[in-house]
Amino acid sequence: MAKSKTSSNDNTRSVKPGSLPYIWGRLRRNPGAMLGLSFVVILFALSFFSPMICRYDYQEIVMKERFSLPSLTHILGCDEVGRDILSRILYGAKYTLSIGILSTAVSCVFGVILGAVAGYFGGTVDTLIMRALDVFQAFPNILLAIAISAVLGAGFDKVIYAIGISGIPNFARMMRANILTVRSSEFIEAATSINCSTLRVIVHHVIPNAISPLIVQVAMGIASAALSASGLSFLGFGVQAPTPEWGAMLASARGYMRDYPHMVIIPGMFIMLTVLSFNLVGDAIRDALDPKLRD
C-alpha cells in the first residue's frame, strides 16, 4: 500500500517516511509538538540572557520583600529571603534543561554502544550484557540515581552521571531490539556478503537504520531525566540549595507551603511544563514514525 499520499503537502511526498526531513515535516504540522519545542527553546534562551533581561538578580536578598506574592513589581513573587522568583526560575531553567539533555546524552551513548554490541554479536556477550542490565533495571530509576549520587557525591556534574547511568538500560534495550530486527534483514546480509567489516556494517548500516526510534527515546528520555533531576534535588542529592535548581527551590519552599503556596506552585509548574514539552515532542515523533497511524 503506497498510500502515504499527503496531497496537501508537497514536500513530504518526495521524502522517505522515517527519515529526518520526513519527521520534521510531520512535526511542523503538529501544534502540540511545536508548542512544546518553542517553550523549551524560548526558556533556554531566556535562561542564558536572564541576567540581562531580568530586573532583579537571582541571588539578591531583600529581606523586606520576603514572601511577597506575585505582583507587578515581582511577577512571580519572592521567596523566603526576598529573592525574585521569576529571576530564579529563569536562571534555574538552564540546570533542568542541561541536566536533562546531558544525562540523556550519557545514557544514549553508553546505552547505544552496549545495546549495539549485545544485539549485533548475540550469544554469550548478549547474555552477559543483558543479564547485567536486568539486575540494574530491578531498581527504580530514582533509587538507582540516589545510590549513584551517594557514591559520587552531590553537584551538577555528579547528577548528570547519576541520572545518565540510571537511564542506560532503557537505551540499551531499545537499541538491541532494533539491531536484532535490522540485523536479520537482507541488506545486512548483502553488506556482509561483499566483505564489509563488522564495525563498518554496524556504523554505516545498522545504526542509521535504528536511528528513528532512538530519537523518540531521546525526547522521552530528556523528559524523564528532567523529572528525576528535580526529584534528586528535592531530596537533597542533586544540585544543592542556594543554586536555583527548580527541585531544590521546591525543597526549600516546602517549609513555607502552609502560608505561601505560590513558592511551591510556581517551580513545580515550570518542571511540569518543561517535561510536558519534551513529552509532546517525543509523542509527536513517535506518531510520525508509526506506520499504522500514517493513513
Binding site: K3, K5, S7, S8
Partner: protein
C-alpha cells in the same frame, strides 16, 4: 426480482465509501441484487473489487474509523438493515444473518476455548443457560467434525482447516436464515478446500440457509451457486442464473474471467489473462470502469456511466454492447 415478498434479502444501490489520507475510496458503487430463501448467490470478482465491503455492510460491521458513508437499501425480511437501531441489528447478527470469514487463522479469539466461542452466540440468541449452551456448542462442533474431547482446546492447537470448521460452527450455531461466506476456502490448503466447501454445502442444504458466497473461484461458483453476480470496481457488471452466466458470459470482463480459466478439454498453449489492472478506487474513470481494460470499448463507454440492460430471463449486464458480438468483428485473441 419482481416479487419482493419472495426475497429473503434484497440489496439496492448499495454504496460504501472509505476515507484514507484525505481521499475518498469508492469501494462499492451502487450494487443491487437479491436472494430467495435457501438459494445461493456467488459474488465473483478480483481482490479489491468490493465484495467483502458488501458483505460487511450487510452485517453492519464495517470498520468505524475508516468508513465514510454507507448508502442504499438493504432489505432483510421487510426490515431495512441500514436504518434499524444498533440494538436490533445486534439481535439479527449471528442469529438470522451470520458470516464466515476469509482467514480462519485470525478469525478466532486466541485466548478463549473454541467451545466457549460457539456457546456465547447460543447464549446471546437462544436464551440458553451456560450448561445448555456448552452442550449445544459441543453438538455443533461434532456436526462440523470436531470431537468433544477437543472442545476445550484453544485455537492455536488447531490446524487451519479445523479452525475454519470452528468458524463455520460459530456461524451456523443459531441456525441463521442467511449465511455470508467471504472466500471461506482461500486461506486453506488445496486438499482441505474441497472438504470445507462440501461441509458448508451440506449444512446449508440441511438447514435451508440462503448463502451469499464471495469468491474468485469460478469452479466453486459453478458447483454451488444458483445465481452469479460478477463484481468489478464496486459494481455488479453482470448478473444472472448460473446457466445464463456460464453459458452466455456477456460482459467483456466476465468473458475475460472465463478466458483466464484453464480449460482441460482444449489444448490451449496459454491462458489469456485480463490485461491491465483494476482502476484506483479513489479515482474511478468517468464512464464504464472497465473501459480502460476493455478490448471492445466504444467511444460512448468512456463518456458516461453505463446502465444495466436486460438480455435474458434474469440475465442483466452493464455493457453498451448488451452481450452482442460487435460489428467490428471478434473479441481480441
Amino acid at each position: 426480482m419482481s416479487n419482493a415478498e419472495k426475497n429473503l434479502i434484497s440489496v439496492e444501490d448499495l454504496v460504501v465509501e472509505y476515507h484514507s489520507g484525505g481521499e475518498t475510496i469508492h469501494a462499492v458503487n451502487g450494487v443491487s441484487f437479491s436472494l430467495e430463501k435457501g438459494k445461493t448467490i456467488g459474488l465473483v470478482g478480483e481482490t479489491g473489487a468490493g465484495k467483502t465491503s458488501i458483505a460487511k455492510a450487510i452485517l453492519r460491521i464495517l470498520p468505524d474509523h475508516a468508513t465514510q458513508a454507507v448508502r442504499g437499501k438493504i432489505n432483510f425480511k421487510g426490515q431495512e438493515l441500514l436504518s434499524i437501531p444498533e440494538k436490533e441489528m445486534c439481535a439479527l447478527r449471528g442469529k438470522s444473518i451470520s458470516m464466515i470469514f476469509q482467514d480462519p487463522m485470525t478469525a478466532l479469539n486466541p485466548v478463549k476455548p473454541v467451545v466457549e466461542q460457539i456457546a456465547e452466540g447460543l447464549r446471546r440468541h437462544q436464551n440458553m443457560s451456560k450448561a445448555q449452551s456448552i452442550q449445544g456448542a459441543i453438538k455443533m462442533l461434532e456436526t462440523v467434525g470436531i470431537s468433544e474431547d477437543r472442545a476445550y482446546e484453544y485455537p492455536h492447537q488447531f490446524s487451519g482447516g479445523m479452525k475454519q470448521r470452528v468458524v463455520i460452527a460459530i456461524a451456523l450455531a443459531c441456525n441463521p436464515e442467511l449465511l455470508i461466506a467471504d472466500e471461506p476456502t482461500t486461506a486453506l490448503d488445496v486438499t482441505i478446500q474441497a472438504q470445507v466447501m462440501d461441509l458448508m454445502k451440506n449444512l446449508q442444504k440441511e438447514l435451508g440457509t440462503a448463502l451469499i458466497l464471495i469468491t474468485h473461484d469460478l469452479g466453486v461458483v459453478a458447483e454451488v451457486c444458483d445465481y452469479v453476480a460478477v463484481v468489478y470496481a464496486g459494481q455488479v457488471v453482470e448478473y444472472g442464473s448460473r446457466e445464463e452466466v456460464f453459458d452466455h458470459p456477456s460482459h467483456p470482463y466476465t468473458v475475460g474471467l472465463f478466458g483466464a480459466l484453464p480449460d482441460l478439454s482444449k489444448n490451449v498453449h496459454r491462458l489469456s489473462p485480463v490485461e491491465g489492472l483494476p482502476p484506483d478506487p479513489s479515482n474511478l474513470p468517468e464512464g464504464c470502469s472497465f473501459a480502460p481494460r476493455c478490448p471492445r470499448a466504444l467511444e460512448g463507454c468512456r463518456k458516461a456511466p453505463v446502465g444495466m440492460s436486460k438480455i435474458g430471463d434474469t440475465h442483466i449486464v452493464r455493457c453498451l454492447l448488451d452481450g452482442k458480438e460487435d460489428s467490428h468483428g471478434t473479441v481480441r485473441d
